[in-house]
C-alpha cells in the first residue's frame, strides 16, 4: 500500500489542510499550475490521482491538461517515492570520469534500477543529466546533499547514512 493510503486520518486531514492553504496562496495568480503541482508533491510525496482531480477542479482546467503537464516534466511523480531520493549524475563531465561505474555500484547497493523505488520505500534511484557540480565529478545527490569525487568503494558508506 502507498504511504498516503495507510496514513492515519489525522495526517490525511493535515495534508488536506495544507493543500487548501496552497490553493489559497496561488488563487488568482497567472501560471500557477506548475507551482501548485510542485507544492502538492511536497505535501504528499507524489501526486495521487485524487489530488490531481482536486487541482483540476480548483484551477477549472480539464484533468487531461493537468495530467499532460504532470507527465511532461521529469520532476512530477504519479507513484509513491522513497524517503530518500538518490540521483546519480550522468552528465558529460561525470560520464568521462567514470559515472557509469558509480551508477552500477549504486544499483547493486540499493537493489533497484533507474526510476525505481525499494519495497521498503527507503530509496528511489534516479539518473539526472547534470547536477552542475562538474568540478567534483562523479557526483551523486541524495535528497539535498551533494556527494562529490566518488569512487565506487565509497558508496556503501554514503548510502548507509540515510535511513
Amino acid at each position: 500500500m502507498p504511504e498516503a493510503g495507510c496514513a492515519q486520518p489525522a495526517e490525511d486531514v493535515q495534508m488536506e489542510k495544507e493543500l487548501q492553504d496552497l490553493f489559497a496562496k496561488w488563487r488568482g495568480v497567472k501560471g500557477s499550475l506548475i507551482p501548485i503541482l510542485q507544492g502538492a508533491q511536497e505535501i504528499y510525496g507524489y501526486l495521487p490521482k485524487e489530488v490531481l482531480l482536486q487541482i483540476a477542479r480548483e484551477l477549472k482546467l480539464p484533468p487531461s491538461r493537468v495530467f499532460g503537464v504532470v507527465t511532461f516534466y521529469a520532476q512530477f511523480h504519479l507513484e509513491p517515492r522513497g524517503r530518500n531520493i538518490v540521483r546519480v549524475c550522468l552528465g558529460t563531465a561525470c560520464h568521462v570520469r567514470g559515472a557509469s561505474k558509480v551508477y552500477e555500484r549504486l544499483q547493486d547497493e540499493i537493489g533497484v534500477g533507474d526510476g525505481e523505488t525499494t519495497e521498503d520505500l527507503r530509496f528511489t534511484l534516479e539518473t539526472v543529466a547534470c547536477l552542475g557540480c562538474c568540478g567534483l565529478s562523479p557526483v551523486v545527490m541524495i535528497n539535498d546533499d551533494t556527494h562529490g569525487r566518488l569512487e565506487p568503494e565509497n558508496l556503501k558508506g554514503i548510502v548507509d547514512q540515510y535511513e
Binding site: 497567472k30 501560471g31 500557477s32 499550475l33 506548475i34 507551482p35 503541482l37 510542485q38 499532460g68 503537464v69 511532461f72 516534466y73 521529469a74 520532476q75 512530477f76 550522468l90 552528465g91 558529460t92 563531465a93 560520464h95 568521462v96 570520469r97 539526472v128 543529466a129 547534470c130 547536477l131 552542475g132 557540480c133 562538474c134 568540478g135 567534483l136 565529478s137 539535498d144
Partner: protein, 597 residues
C-alpha cells in the same frame, strides 16, 4: 576505554635535553598525573626536530601547537591554559616570520593569470546573502545611473555599442534584442531570465546565482528600464535549490531597500521580479518552451515568428536573456561600452565564463576575454591533462556543441571561430577528453541525452534523433555496417535544417563534428570491430599474457562470470564466451598480465 584527546610531544633530542627538556618532560608527567589527566592526555618523547636553537620544544596535538624555549615552570601554565581551557599560551608560541610575500597572489596563479572576471566579479569574495556587501562594492550604482541619468534609448544604445551578445548560446546582439522588444507595441511587456541551465557540463549560471545574485537582479532591472517592462521572471531549474534560496533572499532584500518594486529609488520606474522553478525538462531552456512552462503548460517550443519580442509570455512582448548576459549589464552601464568593447575580439566583445571539466587538472569556472585560445584555457589555466595522458579534444557547448580536436587547439574561442570549427559557444561547457575517451561513445552519450529530452513535437527531432541513437548504439556494440556513416551524416543534415527549435537544430552537432574530426574512430568500430580508446566494452577482448601470469588465481576468484580457469601456478586462460568484460580481473592482477585489446 579511555580516549586520548591530546598528545604532548616533548623533544628528547640531544640539544633539547641539554637545554632542559628532561625536566620539562618530568614536569609534564608529574603535573598530568596530579591533575588526573594522564589517561586522556598522552606524553610522548620525540626525536630531534632540528630546530635546536629554540629548544626545548613542546608540540601539542591535535592542533599541532608549537611551543619553544619551554621551561619546567611553564608546564603548569600550558596544562591549565591550553590542555584544560583550550587556550594556547601566547608567549611561548613560535612566531614564524610573516611569510605573506611568499604566498602567491590570486593573479599570479596559473589558474587566474589569464582570467578576467567581469560576470564573476564578486563570486567568491562577497557574502551573497548580504546586499550591503554588494552595494559597498558599487552595486546598484549602475541602476541608479541608468534611471537618473540615461533615457531608456540611451541604455539600449550603450548596450548595442558595447557589442554584448547573448551568453546562453546563440550569441544574438543583446542591445538589438532589447530594441525590438521596446519598439513592439503594447503597454505590458515581460522581462525573463533563462536560468534553466540544463546543459550537462555547464554550471556558470549556478555560480552567479549562488555567489552574486544581486548582479543578475541589477542587470535585469536595468534591462527592464530600457525596454519598459514592469514585471519579470527568473526561470530557474529545480535542481539548483541553493541558487533558488539565495535568489529569494536577494529579491527580498532589494525590495526592502526599494531597489525592486514600485517607484524604484523614488522614480516612477517600477519593476517586480518573480522566481519560477523549473520542473525538469531540458527543452525549457528554449525560449518559447520556457515561456510555455511559465504559463503553466507543457514546455514545448513553438514556431517563430512571431518572436518573443512581438508575442511572448501570455502573448505580450517579452525579452529573454540568460543569467550571464544580465550579469554583464551593470558593468557595461557603470564602466561604459568602450571599456567593455576593449576586451575580446572584433565581433565577440567582452569575456565569457567557461565551465572547465573532464580530464583536466584544474577543473573549475574560468572567465576569459573572448578570443583566447583553447590551448590557453586547457594548458595554461587548466594545467593540462590529468595523469599526463594525451590530449585528444574538447567538447564545447554541451549537447548542442561539437568536439574540437587537439590539432585545432589554437582556435580562438569566439562565436564565429567556434561555428567555423563545427562547434558552438553554447552556454560554455568545456569537457576535456584524453586518449581514453571514445568519440563514438561520447556522441552516443549526447544523442541519448537529446533523444530522451526531445519534447516530441516535431518529427525530425523525435524520430531522427532516435534513429541516430540506434545507429550509434549499434556501432558501439560492434554491429555497425559501412553505410552507417553516410546515414548518420544525412540524418544529421536533415534534422539540422528541419527541426522546429534549437534543441533539434543542434542535436546532430556532436555526431557531425566527431565524424568530421574523428572519422577513423568510427571506421575502426565499424570495419575492424575495435574501439581505439578501449572504452566500448562490447568491442574489447581480454586475454592473459602467459609469460607474465604466475597462476596465483586472484583473477579467477575476482571474475564474477567464472570465465577464468587454470591450474595453480600455471598460466590461466579467459573463456571469451563467458567473459562479460567487466574489468575485475585487470584490477585484481598484481603482475599486469591481463591485457585488454
Amino acid at each position: 576505554m579511555q580516549l586520548v584527546r591530546a598528545h604532548v610531544l616533548v623533544c628528547g633530542g640531544k640539544n633539547c635535553t641539554a637545554s632542559g627538556s628532561e625536566q620539562v618532560r618530568e614536569a609534564f608527567a608529574k603535573e598530568l598525573e596530579k591533575k588526573k589527566l594522564d589517561q586522556e592526555i598522552r606524553l610522548v618523547e620525540t626525536d630531534c626536530h632540528g630546530f635546536c636553537e629554540m629548544g626545548p620544544l613542546v608540540i601539542v596535538y591535535p592542533e599541532g601547537t608549537f611551543y619553544v624555549r619551554v621551561t619546567a615552570e611553564d608546564v603548569p601554565v600550558i596544562i591549565e591554559e591550553h590542555l584544560v581551557k583550550g587556550r594556547p599560551v601566547d608567549r611561548l608560541l613560535y612566531k614564524a616570520p610573516v611569510k605573506e610575500d611568499e604566498i602567491p597572489k590570486y593573479k599570479e596563479l596559473d589558474f587566474y593569470r589569464k582570467q578576467h572576471r567581469v560576470a564573476l566579479r564578486n563570486c567568491g569574495s562577497i557574502n551573497p546573502e548580504k546586499i550591503e556587501e554588494y552595494i559597498a562594492r558599487g552595486g546598484y550604482a549602475s541602476l541608479e545611473k541608468a534611471i537618473y541619468d540615461l533615457t531608456p534609448e540611451q541604455v539600449i544604445e550603450e548596450t548595442k555599442t558595447s557589442g554584448l551578445r547573448g551568453r546562453g548560446g546563440g550569441g544574438f546582439p543583446t542591445g538589438l534584442k532589447w530594441e525590438f522588444c521596446r519598439r513592439s507595441p503594447g503597454d505590458l511587456k515581460y522581462l525573463i531570465c533563462n536560468a534553466d541551465e540544463g546543459d550537462p557540463g555547464a554550471f556558470m549560471d549556478r555560480s552567479i546565482l549562488e555567489g552574486d545574485p544581486h548582479s543578475l537582479i541589477e542587470g535585469m532591472a536595468i534591462a527592464a528600464y530600457a525596454i519598459g517592462c514592469s514585471e519579470g521572471y527568473i526561470y530557474c531549474r529545480a535542481e539548483y535549490p541553493l541558487a533558488i534560496k539565495r535568489l529569494k533572499i536577494a529579491i527580498a532584500q532589494a525590495e526592502e531597500l526599494g531597489l525592486l518594486g514600485d517607484n524604484i529609488l523614488g522614480t516612477d520606474f517600477s519593476f517586480t521580479l518573480h522566481i519560477k522553478e523549473g520542473a525538469g525538462a531540458f527543452v525549457c531552456g528554449e525560449e518559447t518552451a520556457l515561456m510555455a512552462s511559465i504559463e503553466g503548460k507543457r514546455g514545448m517550443p513553438r514556431v517563430r515568428p512571431p518572436f518573443p519580442a512581438q508575442k511572448g509570455l501570455w502573448d505580450k512582448p517579452s525579452n529573454i536573456n540568460n543569467v550571464e548576459t544580465y550579469a554583464n549589464v551593470p558593468m557595461i552601464i557603470g564602466k561604459g561600452a568602450d571599456w567593455f568593447g576593449s576586451m575580446g575580439t572584433e565581433k565577440s566583445k567582452g569575456t565569457k565564463v567557461f565551465a572547465l571539466t573532464g580530464k583536466v587538472n584544474n577543473t573549475g569556472l574560468v572567465e576569459v576575454p573572448m578570443g583566447v585560445t583553447i590551448r590557453d584555457i586547457i594548458f595554461e589555466i587548466g594545467g593540462g591533462i590529468v595523469g599526463g595522458k594525451e590530449y585528444k579534444g574538447v567538447q564545447i557547448g554541451g549537447p548542442s556543441g561539437g568536439c574540437i580536436p587537439a590539432s585545432l587547439m589554437d582556435t580562438p574561442v569566439d562565436y564565429e571561430s567556434l561555428i567555423e570549427a563545427g562547434a558552438m559557444m553554447g552556454s560554455g561547457g568545456l569537457v576535456v577528453m584524453d586518449e581514453t575517451t571514445c568519440m563514438v561513445d561520447l556522441s552516443r552519450f549526447f544523442l541519448n541525452f537529446t533523444q530522451s529530452e526531445s519534447c516530441g513535437k516535431c518529427t525530425p527531432c523525435r524520430e531522427g534523433t532516435k534513429r541516430m541513437l540506434e545507429i550509434l548504439t549499434r556501432i558501439c556494440e560492434g554491429e555497425g555496417v559501412p553505410e552507417d556513416i553516410e546515414t548518420l551524416e544525412r540524418l544529421g543534415r536533415v534534422i539540422k535544417s528541419t527541426a522546429l527549435c534549437g534543441l533539434g537544430n543542434t542535436a546532430p552537432n556532436p555526431v557531425l563534428s566527431t565524424l568530421r574530426y574523428f572519422r577513423d574512430e568510427y571506421e575502426a568500430h565499424i570495419y575492424d570491430k575495435r574501439c581505439p580508446a578501449h572504452a566500448c566494452s562490447a568491442l574489447l577482448v581480454y586475454t592473459i599474457d602467459e609469460e607474465k601470469c604466475s597462476g596465483c588465481g586472484r583473477c579467477a576468484r575476482a571474475c564474477p562470470a567464472g570465465a577464468i580457469t587454470g591450474e595453480k601456478k600455471e598460466p590461466h586462460k579467459i573463456d571469451p564466451e563467458k567473459c562479460i568484460k567487466c574489468g575485475s580481473c585487470i584490477e585484481s592482477c598484481k603482475r599486469g598480465a591481463i591485457l585488454r585489446l
